[in-house]
């Protein structure tokens, strides 16, 4: 493009110059030529007239006497004028007295009849008739026929030289214009080149060179000015972008800090509050004991305020956690009726406080649901306590049941209806917003943070459901929670880190190597990789903690001497968090302080340089078994026994089975199984007795037991089993396939846990 343009401008300028000068030259040459020819012709005419006069004068006497011979002689003198082709003399009567023809010229036709005086061009020749006079007397006429070839020659010469001059002049014009056009085109081309450069290289510091003060110079000046502005804008933009990036990083760091702060806050705020509430309670008791009754109301106020503050803190922390996306769902399958009864029992006092009656109507087909138990409980509790708060001498109804949605999905619907103060439509609109109770005055009158409903709503949304409200002022409100009966795990944001995770072997053994020395990390990683272990590395304490949460590794190897957060701090944090406390940690250090290591909860303690065989031995002890072991299926129904046995065998277990508790005890005594699947309702010795027996034998305590039962368990049943069995699966609550799937998962999980527990803890 730029090349083409260059040619364009140059050619155009040259052509322009050439055309202009060419036209001017042509016009002038033509004009000069024409005037020359005219001048020549009139000169010629004048010469001929003079000659005619001279010849006429000498022929005058011949005319007087009609002397033809004398006339002819006079004409013969024209021989010296080769231009004259023919000549003739006419007498007074217009008769030819004598004629002449140039030698070699054909005399055919003779002289023409005498014409008018004057000269005229005939057939490319010039005829001249001129009177011969003496004084005023006309004696006769003389005639010349003139050859015009000389004139023609002259014209040709004139044209040729004109062309030559024109060509020469054009050549000179071309040479000059080629030189001169540069003064115009070069600045333009330079400008074009600079523009191109700016565009291609985004180099706004480039400037076009100014060569003249004309319009192009002006254009270049303005162009440069524009570039200057762009350069400034570009710089400003870059600066703003840098600032933005910095602010973004700061904001991220601040969010991170906020999350950490919130996590610590929970404990830090509650501890002094414990003291405030506790001491005020204690003083209250002391005042009662020592008869200082007058102090009691004030102490009760301190206690009440403390409890209120605690509730506020709990709510705010919950909400912040939800909003920071730090609130996780712990999904489990639980019996809905048990949960509802539990919540009702907790809120009974609250309900009775304002003389309300609580009516509970539960549909008989409630069964189980899979959701976050704690959050469902809290959501329900919030609604019930909300209803009790705004209702006096009224009725609060709790209803719960199942519902099939339009998409065939099963929903759990729980409804809390009160006969309280109700709400206006405006108040309804703000209902679920954080920090906005229906009216500011309600806070003073009824207490609370106004966060409870916002939290309830967020919890329900997290679980894929929602809560709605209908209300009429003065008549009461109805809150309805709808949750899927099988809540799904929330889909994680597909960011880079989780994308990485997708490639991980899901049930494999992951070792997290924590060391600040890259070469140490690399060596260990390569060694462990060779042993068929998946290895992830962390270079510092914080990274390690983050990765543990993300990966939940099978084993962690932890270097002690690290800058910033050292290994002990990492270990302490891991053991503090219930989610990570059970991950075995192998501490690697150059300082030999085994006691210290174990005291901090390290599973093993190796001194550097690491004995690889020993490390591998320890890891192999801790890693998940690739081959399942022996499972014992206990059920009195042969069909169920068969089904369970087959499921386990498909997973590679060897199985034994028993039909009742006593038989199992014998079987366990004969060969200690790695897992027991247990029915509760059996003849002779039932499941409960069996569990009690099992747990009394030290060496049997570690065997994981999964209870599979059709019995709907009472609270006492559950309490009795709690802590002694891994999990209770209800036969009725699952389809056969679901039960088997759940079982498969549980079996894997149990064995992994038992494996770890085996190494560092005796349950």
């Amino acid at each position: 493009m730029p090349k083409l343009c260059q040619r364009c401008v140059k050619t155009k300028l040259t052509r322009l110059t050439m055309l202009t000068s060419g036209v001017a030259l042509l016009v002038s040459v033509t004009l000069f030529g024409l005037s020359d020819a005219k001048r020549f012709r009139s000169g010629m005419e004048r010469d001929l007239q003079t000659l005619a006069d001279v010849v006429g004068a000498s022929a005058a006497s011949a005319l007087d006497f009609d002397d033809e011979a004398a006339a002819a002689k006079t004409l013969a003198a024209l021989e010296h004028k080769p231009v004259i082709l023919r000549a003739a003399i006419y007498n007074k009567d217009n008769k030819v007295l004598a004629s002449y023809a140039r030698p070699g010229e054909p005399a055919a036709g003779g002289p023409p009849v005498r014409g008018r005086d004057g000269s005229r061009f005939v057939h490319g020749q010039l005829e001249v008739f001129r009177p011969i006079q003496r004084g005023a007397d006309r004696l006769g006429t003389i005639f010349f026929l003139v050859d015009l070839s000389e004139l023609r020659e002259l014209i040709v010469n004139c044209v040729v030289s004109g062309i030559i001059i024109l060509a020469g002049a054009l050549l000179v014009a071309f040479i000059f214009s080629s030189r001169l056009q540069r003064s115009v085109s070069k600045p333009i081309l330079d400008l074009a080149e600079t523009t191109q450069k700016v565009l291609e290289q985004k180099d706004y510091s480039a400037r076009a060179a100014k060569q003249s003060d004309d319009e192009v110079g002006f254009l270049i000046d303005k162009f440069n000015e524009m570039l200057g502005q762009m350069e400034r804008h570009e710089k400003d933009l870059t600066e703003i972008n840098t600032q933005l990036r910095r602010s973004q990083q700061e904001a991220l760091a601040a969010t991170e800090a906020k999350s950490h702060f919130l996590a610590n806050m929970s404990h830090e705020l509650r501890t002094p509050l414990n003291a405030i509430i506790g001491y005020s309670e204690m003083l209250e008791e002391e005042a009662a004991d020592s008869g200082q009754e007058d102090l009691i109301p004030d102490l009760k106020k301190i206690k009440g305020a403390g409890k209120h503050l605690l509730a506020l803190i709990n709510d705010i922390l919950d909400l912040s956690k939800i909003e920071a996306g730090k609130m996780d769902l712990y999904l489990e399958t639980f019996d809905l009726k048990t949960l509802l009864e539990d919540v009702v029992a907790t809120t009974r006092l609250l309900v009775q406080k304002k003389d309300n009656i609580l009516e509970v109507r539960l549909s008989p087909d409630l069964g189980t649901m899979r959701a976050d138990l704690t959050k469902v409980r809290q959501a329900l509790f919030n609604l019930l306590s909300n209803a009790s708060k705004f209702t006096e001498h009224g009725t609060i109804r709790l209803k719960a049941g199942r519902e099939i949605g339009p998409d065939k999905a099963e929903w759990i619907v729980m409804q809390v209806q009160d006969t309280g103060i109700g709400m206006t439509p405006e108040q309804l609109g703000r209902m679920f917003q954080a920090f906005s109770q229906a009216d500011a005055s309600t806070v003073r009158k009824y207490g609370g943070t106004g966060l409870g409903l916002a939290i309830t709503r967020r919890f329900c949304l997290m679980m894929g459901g929602d809560v709605t409200v209908a209300s009429e002022i003065g008549k009461g409100s109805t809150f309805t929670i709808r949750l899927p009966s099988q809540v799904q795990e929330p889909r994680a944001e597909p960011d880079e880190k989780t994308a990485d995770l997708l490639d991980l072997p899901q049930e494999g053994n992951t070792v997290l190597v924590v060391d600040d020395d890259p070469s140490a990390r690399d060596l260990l990683k390569r060694f462990l990789n060779k042993q068929g272990l998946y290895v992830e590395c962390a270079a510092n304490g914080q990274e390690a903690l983050d990765m543990v949460k993300r990966l939940h590794p099978t084993v962690i190897t932890l270097d002690v001497m690290m800058p910033g957060m050292d290994g002990w701090a990492v270990l302490a944090r891991l053991k503090e968090d219930p989610a990570t406390a059970d991950i075995p940690v192998i501490v690697l250090t150059i300082v030999d302080d085994t006691h210290f290591g174990h005291a901090f909860g390290a599973t093993e303690y190796l001194t550097k340089p690491v004995d690889r065989e020993r490390l591998l031995g320890i890891i192999n002890k801790l890693r998940h078994p690739s081959v399942p072991g022996q499972a014992l299926v206990v059920d009195d129904e042969p069909d169920v026994r068969d089904m369970l046995t087959r499921t386990l065998q498909r997973q590679g277990w060897t199985t034994a089975s028993a039909a009742d508790g006593r038989e199992v005890l014998e079987s366990v005594a004969a060969q200690k199984p790695d897992l027991i699947l247990l029915d509760l309702m059996m003849p002779r010795m039932d499941g409960f007795e069996f569990v009690t027996e099992m747990r009394q034998r030290e060496e049997w305590r570690t065997i994981p037991i999964i209870v599979i039962t059709a019995k709907s368990l009472t609270k006492e049943d559950r309490e009795m089993l709690e802590g002694h069995v891994q999990k209770v699966l209800l036969k009725g609550g699952f389809s056969r396939d679901e039960l088997l799937n759940e079982l498969r998962e549980l079996v894997t999980e149990c064995v992994q846990r038992a494996q770890r527990a085996d190494v560092h803890v005796q349950i």
């Binding site: 404990h267 989610a579 909860g601």
Partner: protein, 125 residues
């Protein structure tokens, strides 16, 4: 009267709870960390242990596991006290071998009820 081993690292909480328990007539001995708790569970032979879960040296879960693993002390009732009140805390405490569980801030009547129920199950002595 029953002898209670109170394991708590926070001085104020320890002072407060111990005074309240003493006024209710209990004999109270105190430990400040997990290690001391395990040692005193043997040396003081208490009737019941109130165990805070976030403790230095090793935490309440670990201390409970050790106490429950020791034949001499395994029948000692342990009530876990935690400020976390998080999902799974209760399960975790029960798994570690705790006999019961209560959240902080302590509500004395509720705690006393739990203590009495455990003490009556396993009479002192």
């Amino acid at each position: 009267m029953a002898k209670i081993l109170l394991v708590e690292d926070n001085e104020m909480n320890r002072d407060m709870l111990s005074r309240r328990l003493r006024r209710k007539g209990y004999e109270v001995v105190m430990a400040v960390d997990g290690e001391q708790a395990v040692a005193m569970s043997v040396s003081e032979s208490p009737d019941l242990i109130l165990m805070d879960m976030s403790l230095p040296v090793f935490d309440g879960w670990e201390a409970t596991r050790r106490i429950k693993a020791e034949p001499a002390t395994k029948s000692l009732p342990v009530i876990a006290l935690t400020a976390h009140a998080m999902a799974g805390d209760r399960e975790k405490s029960i798994e570690a071998g705790c006999d019961d569980y209560d959240t902080k801030p302590i509500e004395l009547p509720r705690l006393l009820e739990k203590m009495e129920s455990l003490l009556s199950r396993k009479p002192a002595g």
